[in-house]
């Protein structure tokens, strides 16, 4: 371990030992109790601290989830981040107002400073050539730095009840008082009412601001109204989540909801529920040990929900996509086997219906074991029956139908490419190998119509007709018919 490495470890340990217990000491009676008794204390809800913490974090989770949904679909995630950091000087000023942690003063201070920060962002954007992300980063840094200066100044003041002020950095749900809770309730209700009343205005300005303006909506007013609500959400979340992580509360539950649904109203519901669950989980876990900050637990709770949505989401989830991909490749493989069987039979002009494993293996350039595995798959899907101890494959009617339609797709597509797209006959096979599995019946019929019901592919082999596909037996063999290469499209 080199010296620099050691130094950083010491710095980290110092932070843990110095900062966290300093916070823990003020929560009072939490120390020296076991995890199970803390958990018991949490779930009995007897302790008002627990009740306030739980209800408070759930309320802020709902508020942040709802407003965060609009932040996410309006692509304003960076704005949320900026706002949540920039309110810090406002918290300090609110404290300095009457030298106590009065929720109203802090709320007003933080909201005003938050609005000033968005104003500064707008001025810089309109008067300079700087782009939005640069301006946001600049304002975030500046305001946060001012906040840190004010905070260190407050720490050195002799007067005032400074207890709980440090919770604004990492968040401590246990520090939520009944006054704070009353406040959070009011804000949550305001946010919910605003979203219910102005849902359609928020929706249309988020989706298509130009169109909204052209229909006479006051888009600027709506935008700043929404920003004000976001600022409210940030401020009530500050105490429990902390300045550093509030923006994650806006974004993570909403991002998880976004992955799960395609409708805005459902996204709002989901994000609110996710935010609420994350808040409750964070309050619980931070309660288990002395001095555990709430913010990281709430955010990690939200991240867990996001991870679940990412992995198991029914439509866009990774696992579903993987399963779909797998079932598609299995289907393609089955269809290719059927096609090979068809080719073998076609080669002997469909005389004698069974195909032996060896013939199939030769045709597919595989081992007999592989061919056997393929044959078993076909049998399991009722596409084929096996005879003579599994050595002879007979296609079922369903198997014939599928085989005919794949061969038909392949040959029609080849003919289409050579005739309509003027691609050389020796270039079309590989493309048809892929397309044959995805062509819909409607498209195939249209191609057939366009080719004037030609019955020979570019290599002179007969194309199974729709009647062949529906019959469910070997196609009528037409080796004697004159080769029709199809008309031009």
């Amino acid at each position: 371990m080199n010296a620099r490495h050691k130094a950083s470890v010491f710095a980290f340990l110092f932070l843990c030992t110095a900062a966290l217990p300093a916070a823990a000491a003020r929560i009072g009676e939490l120390s020296e109790t076991s995890i199970s008794s803390q958990a018991f204390r949490f779930f009995t809800f007897q302790d008002p601290t627990v009740r306030y913490a739980l209800i408070g974090t759930m309320l802020l989770g709902i508020t942040c989830g709802l407003l965060g949904s609009f932040v996410v679909v309006r692509k304003m995630a960076l704005v949320g981040d900026m706002l949540s950091h920039a309110v810090l000087p406002g918290v300090a000023i609110g404290f300095l107002w009457n030298m106590s942690k009065d929720p109203l003063a802090i709320f007003i201070g933080a909201t005003i400073v938050g609005l000033i920060s968005t104003g500064v962002v707008n001025i810089l954007r309109q008067t300079t050539r700087l782009k939005e992300d640069t301006v946001l980063g600049l304002v975030l840094g500046t305001f946060f730095a001012v906040g840190l200066c004010l905070f260190s100044m407050i720490q050195h003041l002799q007067t005032g009840n400074k207890s709980g002020l440090d919770k604004f950095f990492f968040g401590q749900a246990a520090a939520i008082s009944s006054d704070d809770l009353r406040f959070m309730t009011v804000i949550a209700i305001i946010a919910i009412i605003a979203i219910v009343l102005f849902y359609k205005e928020f929706l249309v300005t988020s989706f298509d601001a130009d169109f909204a303006r052209a229909s006479g909506l006051p888009t600027q007013v709506i935008h700043y109204g929404l920003m004000l609500l976001v600022a409210f959400a940030v401020v009530i979340a500050l105490q429990a989540v902390g300045v550093v992580l509030v923006s994650a509360m806006l974004i993570t539950p909403a991002a998880a909801a976004y992955l799960l649904t395609d409708r805005m109203h459902r996204m709002l519901w989901l994000a609110a529920v996710f935010g609420m669950l994350a808040g409750a989980a964070g309050a619980f876990f931070s309660f288990l040990g002395p001095g555990l900050p709430t913010g990281p637990f709430i955010v990690l709770g939200a991240t867990s929900v996001f991870a679940l949505a990412f992995l198991f989401g029914p439509r866009h989830g990774v696992i579903v996509r993987w399963l779909k991909q797998r079932s598609r490749s299995h289907r393609v493989q089955r269809e290719n086997t059927l096609k090979s069987i068809y080719h073998v039979l076609e080669h002997r002009e469909f005389k004698g219906e069974g195909v032996s494993l060896r013939e199939l293996a030769e045709r597919r350039h595989e081992t007999v074991e592989d061919a056997k595995a393929q044959a078993d798959t076909l049998r399991r899907h009722d596409l084929a029956t096996l005879h003579e101890e599994g050595n002879l494959i007979f296609l079922t009617p369903a198997g014939w139908q599928l085989a005919c339609s794949i061969v038909r797709n392949h040959r029609l597509w080849e003919l289409y490419l050579t005739n309509a797209a003027q691609i050389a006959a020796d270039h079309v096979h590989d493309d048809a190998e892929k397309i044959e599995h995805v062509l819909g019946e409607e498209v195939v019929r249209e191609i057939e119509r366009g080719l004037e019901y030609a019955n020979r592919d570019p290599h002179g082999r007969p194309i199974p007709s729709l009647a062949d596909v529906h019959r469910g037996t070997a196609p009528a063999y037409r080796s004697e018919e004159p080769a029709g290469y199809g008309g031009k499209m």
Binding site: V73, K75, K200, D208, D210, F211, A214, L217, M267
Partner: protein, 282 residues
């Protein structure tokens, strides 16, 4: 310095001389769109100069011109969506802000995020928002209108699809349906033919003619000259100023198109550049 202001006044002269139809219109309440001496600047760089325009009712008007000619800017400014440096816009004889309800709009398809979590029906319903007023919810009548409009563009079967699953042509049909749902008398459309298949293009043309025959006035930004001649009753040739405005068969000629797409642009954009530099120096 003197030189550049001379150029500006000359440019104004050209535009007023060439824009036909600007003579009538004053006082008549039934002129769907009247624009007087409109100048628009982006970041202090003028992109539209002294536009005069009076569009008669019941016409399908194509707006053509090269890239950067200010076609989108003109329709956005006409709807009062951009700050203008000078001039005014009247819609049916009233300032545009008062008559937004009589305006329908099809923005450029690329201007929105098609992954947005809304259904086709949600988007078309947005066309009704202007008629509903703040806070109000869509009523039965709004739903009926939205469905009828979707049916009109043959997208009713897709009403409950999410918009990201649509092809370019389908997306454009949805935007048209939304504009139809606005039930307006004056329509602005920004490149409704961009990125659509041939079937959609002819369906849109039929629809535009239908609207025109009902007495609606339509201004359509279009970038394909050969089809412009067939599609539109009147053409507005635009290149930072109005080069010409009149019936298609009168203005679709070599000289005017040459003027629109040819060398004229360089002088104006140089002046625009000079103006900007002068202001920066101050």
């Amino acid at each position: 310095m003197k030189n550049s202001s001379d150029e500006i006044s000359q440019a104004r002269l050209i535009s007023t001389r060439d824009s036909q139809g600007s003579a009538n219109g004053h006082g008549s309440g039934e002129v769907p769109l009247e624009i007087h001496d409109l100048t628009v600047a982006y970041h202090r760089k003028p992109v539209l100069w002294g536009v005069d325009l009076a569009v008669p009712p019941g016409k399908l008007v194509g707006i053509v011109g090269p890239n950067g000619a200010g076609k989108s800017t003109l329709i956005k400014a006409a709807m009062g969506m951009l700050p203008v440096s000078s001039g005014w816009v009247k819609v049916f004889g009233e300032p545009v802000k008062k008559n937004l309800k009589r305006i329908g709009y099809v923005p450029q398809r690329e201007s929105v995020d098609w992954d947005f979590p809304v259904s086709v029906m949600d988007v078309v319903m947005m066309g009704r928002y202007g008629h509903m007023g703040l806070v109000r919810r869509p009523k039965k009548k709004d739903h009926e209108i939205a469905r009828a409009c979707l049916d009109k563009v043959k997208m009713l079967p897709y009403a409950n699809r999410q918009i990201s699953n649509l092809s370019g042509g389908q997306q454009q049909r949805v935007f048209l349906a939304r504009a139809l749902a606005q039930e307006s008398d004056l329509y602005f459309m920004d490149e409704p033919f961009s990125g659509v298949d041939a079937a959609t293009e002819s369906a849109i043309v039929t629809l535009l003619h239908e609207l025109r025959n009902k007495g609606k006035t339509l201004l359509v930004v279009h970038h394909d000259l050969p089809t412009a001649r067939d599609y539109f009753d009147m053409l507005l040739l635009l290149n930072m100023r109005v080069v010409a405005f009149g019936p298609t068969k009168e203005v679709f000629n070599y000289d005017l198109l040459q003027k629109t797409y040819g060398g004229r642009l360089t002088i104006l954009s140089e002046v625009a550049h000079a103006v900007r530099q002068k202001e920066d120096a101050l």
